[in-house]
């Protein structure tokens, strides 16, 4: 709705371009632009434009937070608990404070405050120092004396569930929400270390199972995965009398600003958060976090800028992680494949934190009238988990998509055909059709059919992700008298290339080239942007960018119309000119129109309006769109049954993201999601030594990430799925492209060797155990 509530009716393209487009009527606020045509008819939207900050990145010119140095800047370092569970009897920082290089000392844990005197995982922050050099900070850290009283601890999730397990939390220390900032359901029972269940249901599951002709049941496990951002968590905090400026490797400048204002009692207008280059977040850099708080407090104390950048060990132990999970999934179906009941029990561990679920994919992906889930958090003395690329649904898909695969086998129905029967989404139907064709699904053989030690197989799996929209998103567009154009927003580019996307959207409006648009983002001095998590950036910020540009264009039209003696409604902007639509020769260059402006610059700020067809749900600053995002991935693997090595040879990823604005960047994103999913399936594992609670692989050497030689051939197809919901109709793709990969690989492995691996990572030990070549207890 426009500010005064008035709308007009517009016809939008609707449907999947490769299937055939129809139209839908929507009510568009009168101060928002007319519908965008499908990509094929557009000049720059939908084109594979090279990213506008590419040159800066390939020449090393881009400044990441770790590259920011301010005059007089101090180096901050955090002292961390060496014990997995301990009471702090005393902290003596006096020797550290006397170190000549030290300018500020901050106790974090406190022996005199019961709510802060217990550390619950190795790596938990205890105190912090700011010093003139990093070496001085490290030396001073060693001078801090802490008297710990070791308490009983537990790091194994199965052991932590036992009633006799040492307690990780007392009633006062259970965190109120997830480390990513999402509120946790309140009032859930806490029994020992087990909190929950969080329940959801529909229909009558008992009746549903009674109606089933076949029931499959399985238990699935996933490991704890760490984000491994290449740029560590980093902040430069500059506390000054007139305000606080913070440079931070963050996924959410606006959110961090709010947190800082609240935490330090400052008005929003006196807090500024800035990020230029940002070296990856994947969900771990959504909040101010403890290290951010510490840096600002040190800066305030020292009256000097303070930089804290975590080292790789700190990154691995205390910057968040994807919780590990265990789930038991039971699915009942009729002989024709239609589902009658799904029952899901899940236990997971986010260490000392909350949020270890298996998501809502089992609840939402397939048509099934009867459903129930009970999900529990199990506390362990390990670093708190947080959101990681597709939280919940990624481990959830690991279980669900294998269970559906198992069901297909039991029913002797092809897994793609089964999904055609039970999946209500026309988008995923088309994705399955395209993907099956590309991978050569028709050549799929029976499980384990290949002779010889190297056995190949094909597998399929699907992803589902809510299309999040951040309503609290705004964008400014400015046109200067010399014809230059700027887009300004606090939105941050965490590697997705949102700046280039904004340039394309605005260039399309003005009939300019993307390189004519200057992008200024990542600064809360600009209108507040959305977070870059939840795959919502594009959906949240591109409609305001187009709307703001369109409003500015109307002003330009007014000037041009006067000069051309035409009506503004007759004008159009294209190919660098503003002209009368039906008389192209009657016009002027964009620059000439700008030169006619009454003032040096004109601008408009637009914010994200509601989806034209309405949201499914609103949650504060965010909302959920009607249609979910999704994708279907097919994997081809070769399993060497003599070495236990799984090689992923090919992945076909067919995804949707509404209107794809930059297919080149989208392809990069999808390849990245597939590689992260592959790495999750085969290599990654946060390994804790059970006897001491310490992570034994807090590095990039023994925490194994897929490297260049593990990359399969990745075939990316992105549908154009028009929904007529906003000024750009564009959505995100980061998480949907990561969720299906691991189960697609697992299903391909089943097809290859005829045995199912139900735990990640699928190591040679796991393959041998599945093949009966090694007793499974001795993995």
């Amino acid at each position: 709705m426009a500010a005064d509530g008035t709308t007009r009716t517009e016809k939008f393209p609707f449907g999947i371009a490769s299937v055939g487009l129809g139209e839908v009527d929507r009510q568009v606020p009168i101060d928002e632009p007319p519908p965008l045509a499908p990509n094929a008819e557009l000049a720059v939207i939908g084109k594979p434009i090279p990213r506008q900050n590419g040159r800066a990145k390939v020449t090393g010119a881009t400044r990441f937070t770790v590259d920011v140095t301010l005059p007089g800047m101090l180096y901050g370092k955090i002292l961390r608990s060496p014990l997995p569970h301990a009471e702090i009897r005393a902290i003596d920082v006096s020797a550290a404070a006397r170190h000549p290089g030290v300018c500020a000392v901050l106790p974090v844990a406190r022996s005199d405050d019961p709510s802060a005197s217990v550390v619950r995982y190795i790596g938990a922050p205890v105190a912090a120092i700011a010093a003139v050099t990093m070496a001085a900070a490290e030396e001073a850290l060693r001078l801090i004396r802490v008297d710990y009283n070791l308490l009983p601890f537990v790091v194994d999730v199965d052991k932590a569930r036992e009633s006799t397990a040492p307690l990780v939390h007392d009633s006062g220390s259970v965190p109120p929400g997830h480390a990513s900032g999402f509120p946790a359901p309140t009032g859930l029972p806490l029994n020992g270390n087990v909190r929950g269940p969080a329940v959801a249901s529909r229909g009558d599951v008992a009746q549903g199972f009674a109606q089933a002709g076949v029931v499959v049941e399985g238990e699935y496990r996933t490991q704890v995965q760490t984000h491994c951002c290449m740029e560590p968590h980093a902040i430069v905090a500059d506390w000054r009398p007139d305000g606080l400026t913070v440079y931070m490797s963050t996924q959410f400048t606006a959110g961090v600003r709010h947190e800082l204002a609240a935490e330090f009692g400052l008005p929003l207008s006196r807090v500024r958060v800035v990020v230029d280059g940002m070296g990856g977040g994947f969900g771990s850099k959504s909040m101010l976090s403890k290290y951010g708080r510490v840096a600002v407090a040190l800066s305030r104390q020292a009256q000097a800028p303070v930089r804290i950048a975590l080292d790789r060990e700190e990154e691995q132990m205390d910057s968040g992680n994807r919780p590990g999970t265990w789930q038991r999934l039971r699915i009942g179906a009729r002989r024709d494949g239609s589902l009658t009941a799904i029952s899901l029990v899940g236990y997971g561990t986010a260490g000392v934190g909350l949020g270890a679920g298996v998501g809502n994919i089992a609840q939402a992906l397939y048509a099934c009238p009867n459903f129930e889930t009970a999900q529990f958090d199990v506390f362990t003395n390990a670093g708190p988990g947080c959101a990681m690329r597709g939280p919940g649904n990624t481990p959830g898909a690991w279980g669900l998509e294998q269970a559906i695969d198992e069901l297909a086998l039991r029913l002797s129905i092809d897994p793609v055909v089964l999904r055609d029967r039970i999946d209500p989404s026309p988008v995923r139907r088309e994705e399955r059709r395209i993907g099956a064709d590309r991978i050569g699904w028709q050549h799929r053989h029976a499980p384990g059919a290949d002779p010889g030690p190297i056995k190949r197989g094909l597998g399929v799996a699907q992803s589902l992700w809510g299309a999040n929209v951040q309503i609290n998103s705004a964008c400014e567009v400015r046109v200067m008298r010399d014809g230059s154009v700027e887009v300004l927003s606090g939105v941050q580019d965490i590697g997705t290339g949102i700046g280039t996307v904004l340039a394309q959207v605005v260039a399309e409006v003005f009939g300019l080239r993307p390189e004519d648009i200057a992008i200024r983002i990542g600064d809360t001095d600009f209108p507040a942007g959305p977070p870059s998590y939840g795959s919502r950036t594009t959906a949240s910020i591109t409609p305001p960018a187009r709307t703001a540009a369109w409003r500015v264009l109307q002003e330009l039209y007014r000037e041009a119309a006067l000069a051309l003696n035409a009506a503004t409604g007759d004008l159009t902007a294209s190919a660098g000119r503003i002209f009368v639509r039906d008389e192209p020769s009657r016009g002027m260059n964009f620059g000439e129109a700008a030169a006619r402006l009454r003032t040096d610059q004109i601008s408009a700020v637009a914010s994200r309006s509601d989806d034209y067809g309405g949201f499914r749900r609103r949650m504060g600053d965010a909302a959920l769109a009607e249609q979910d995002l999704g994708g279907v991935q097919f994997a081809q693997v070769a399993v060497d049954t003599e070495t236990g090595i799984i090689r992923v040879e090919r992945v076909v990823a067919v995804q949707d993201c509404g209107r794809p604005i930059n297919p080149l960047q989208i392809e990069s994103q999808v390849q990245g999601g597939v590689l992260m999913g592959l790495s999750y399936a085969l290599y990654e594992n946060r390994i804790l030594d059970q006897h001491t609670g310490r992570m034994v692989n807090p590095n990039l050497e023994q925490y194994k990430l897929a490297g260049p030689r593990e990359a399969p051939a990745i075939d990316v197809v992105v549908l154009e799925n028009y929904q007529g919901q906003s000024a750009t109709d564009a959505y995100g793709i980061a998480e949907p492209s990561n969720i299906a990969t691991a189960p697609a690989i697992a299903n391909a492995v089943y097809n290859a060797i005829g045995v199912r691996l139900r735990s990640t990572p699928m190591t040679p030990a796991a393959v041998f155990a599945a093949l009966g070549k090694v007793p499974s207890g001795s993995q």
Binding site: R55, A56, E231, Q671, P708
Partner: protein
Amino acid sequence: MVDAVSAFIGQQAAAEGSSLTALGPGAVPISLKVNGVAQTLQVEPRMTLAEALRGPLGLTGTKVACDRGACSACTVWLDGTTVCSCMTLAVEVAGRSVTTIEGLANGSQLHPVQAAFIEHDALQCGFCTPGMVMSCAALLERSPDPTAEEVQRAISGHICRCGTYPHVVAATLAAAKA
């Protein structure tokens, strides 16, 4: 105490008839060439080349991601061959020639690998990119027409969390043909 050790070594060596002098542990001057320009800086022996580049030389294009030689983000050329600058001491490159990402382009003229990286979108967050570009450019110097597998092997020490490997290979193959 450490100065005493240096003196001890000097004494011992002198006793042997040679004179092995120790530098440091405080800062000592070293001269080297960086991107074709002669530089003299004060470095403690424990300072890595990566720290020297990013600190006193102000060349922050070279990134440190793991600081253990496990990810290759810090790759630079040392006398033309790729090394992990985080696993190289600044003192040991005295008198030698270092090329960093800042020194790859020829003024405003990008190296073919840099141009190809942009064209093929072989970067996302960009943090691993400088090291990756240095490796690919070095590969093309010694092997002007590599296969895709050869490119994969040449960059096999690199870790990219954003998942740019397929586009990096495509970009490098394209740059080879340019």
